[in-house]
Amino acid sequence: MGFFTDTSVCIGCKACEVACKEWNAVPEDGLNFSGNSFDNTGGLSADTWRHVAFIEKPVEKPAEGVQAVDLGMPTVGQSTPDFQWLMSSDVCKHCTHAACLDVCPTGALFRTEYGTVVVQEDVCNGCGYCVPACPFGVIDQRENDGRVFKCTMCYDRLGAGQEPACAKTCPTDSIQFGELEELRERAAQRVEQLHADGFEKARLYGENPDDGVGGAGAFFLLLDEPEVYGLPPDPVVTTRDLPSMWRHAGVAAATLLIGLAATFLGGRR
């Protein structure tokens, strides 16, 4: 099971952030306006499991043949705004090859029967290894606790046959929950439709099972490059290179043993 987040219909209401906090009893982490935008949470963290990004960027010209519609909105001086908003609700990607799960030394992170990735709070020992391992910068340590927390895709609700709180509350169906296969089909159709409507930059992100993380359990329809939204353009699970890392470390260990043994040659000096 997974999420498909269609950012083209996100209205930035942040109802998903609130619903997530309410259902999962995630502690309050302050209303900290950055001064950059109306975004008051900033990014995903131990205490923000859904994050709606507000990206203000200059208006782009409509594609050839597409006529901008005058909505007759009240204006002050300027007839058209010189910037536009992109809004996007970000969340843990629940990677098929999940670095956080791989590197966890205690088994606190595990894969559920729904294919999602969840932290067991009572097993996590706060080593923090998963934090720099995540190629998306999702999982984080909770201050004054030391343990890590992130989206569980409402594991408890799934068990009761319900959809996650964020998807349930989303008023525009920007967040959709369901079988990944079905979601991918729906997403592909939506991209086609957007391309036909002149949104040439619309693209899917994280939907490909052959990508660096084996496809994400939460994928997105974006209207611009991933990094515009604070997402890595080509994330790769770090443990893909682990066999090679162990081999290099083995050779290095042998080099140390032989090198230091050699220092004892050459007599009594």
Binding site: V103, A108, P132
Partner: protein, 293 residues
């Protein structure tokens, strides 16, 4: 908004990745002490087999002290001592921290027995077996920490995963060499002086290779706290090894100065690499640009 030219290579310049939450002193110290312990055990085993009791005892005591302090640093970073028990809940080959915990569970007692028998003079047979055991496990203790930090998405750590173990074992060799030069009689410390040269050469070459592979991300080795630490590390390591090798045999003072420089150099290397990693995670440029290339 209107006059500035926005750079949309990230979300308002915020990091894409989360920087390591580890305390630099705890985990930088953990990396340094693990290297010191591992290589000291190898030097101690060599000294034991070539009848250099002073160098052997120094190595064994240093190994036990360093590995105990590194365990303390790890537990301090975890927050509660009871949390360390969870480390031995499972054996997970995909987690270098899990493998490392089990490695330390084998190495720690061996280093402990080696040191205890050396200091008390009791059970020399068991002591010798433990010394050799710790000496054989030592290189693994010194190198696994390179895998530990490379197996992350942190650009300056992951990008250098091929060279990192060689930097680490080189740095481990210089630390153990420095301690041997400080603690043992210069007449016995020949291997330590040569180990200083070996370690310094290995570390310097591997570091150079790593920087050329890191490309843009190698900037993090030259700026900020990491830049200062790594610059100091290079000077201390090369200087300490040279002083030790040239003057360490004749002058006890020179041996002590060279040894202290090598120890300080090794600590600076580990802390510098730690901070380079943090810098590389905090600036989204180091995440986005290499992935775009």
């Amino acid at each position: 908004m209107k006059n500035s030219k926005p750079q949309f290579d990230s979300y308002y310049g915020k990091p894409v990745l989360k920087a390591p939450v580890w305390s630099p002193l705890d985990i930088g110290g953990y990396l340094f002490l693990g290297g010191l312990a591992g290589a000291s055990s190898v030097l101690a085993a060599g000294a034991e087999l070539t009848a250099r009791p002073g160098l052997a005892r120094a190595g064994k005591v240093a190994a036990l002290g360093a590995i105990s302090a590194s365990a303390a640093a790890l537990v301090h970073d975890l927050g509660k001592p009871t949390r360390f028990v969870n480390m031995l809940r499972v054996v997970k080959p995909t987690s270098p921290m899990s493998i490392g915990s089990w490695l330390l569970a084998g190495y720690g007692p061996a280093a402990g027995v080696a040191a205890a028998t050396a200091v008390t003079g009791l059970f020399p047979g068991i002591g010798r077996a433990a010394t050799i055991g710790a000496g054989l496990l030592g290189p693994a203790v010194a190198s696994y920490t390179a895998v530990l930090i490379s197996d992350t998405a942190t650009p300056a750590w992951h990008g250098g995963y091929r060279e990192m173990p060689f930097v680490f074992v080189g740095s481990a060799a210089t630390a153990a060499a420095g301690l041997g030069m400080l603690a043992a009689d210069p007449a016995e410390a020949g291997p330590a002086r040569r180990a200083g040269l070996f370690g310094a050469a290995l570390e310097t070459v591997a570091m150079h290779q790593m920087r050329s592979r890191l490309g843009l991300v190698a900037e993090t080795h030259h700026q900020g706290k990491a830049g200062k630490l790594l610059k100091a590390a290079e000077a201390l390591t090369i200087g300490g090894a040279a002083v030790g090798a040239l003057l360490g045999r004749r002058s006890r003072l020179a041996a002590a100065v060279g040894g202290a420089a090598l120890l300080a150099g090794s600590a600076c290397t580990r802390l510098g690499i730690f901070h380079a990693g943090v810098q590389s995670a905090e600036d989204p440029k180091y995440t986005v640009e290499p992935q775009r290339a």
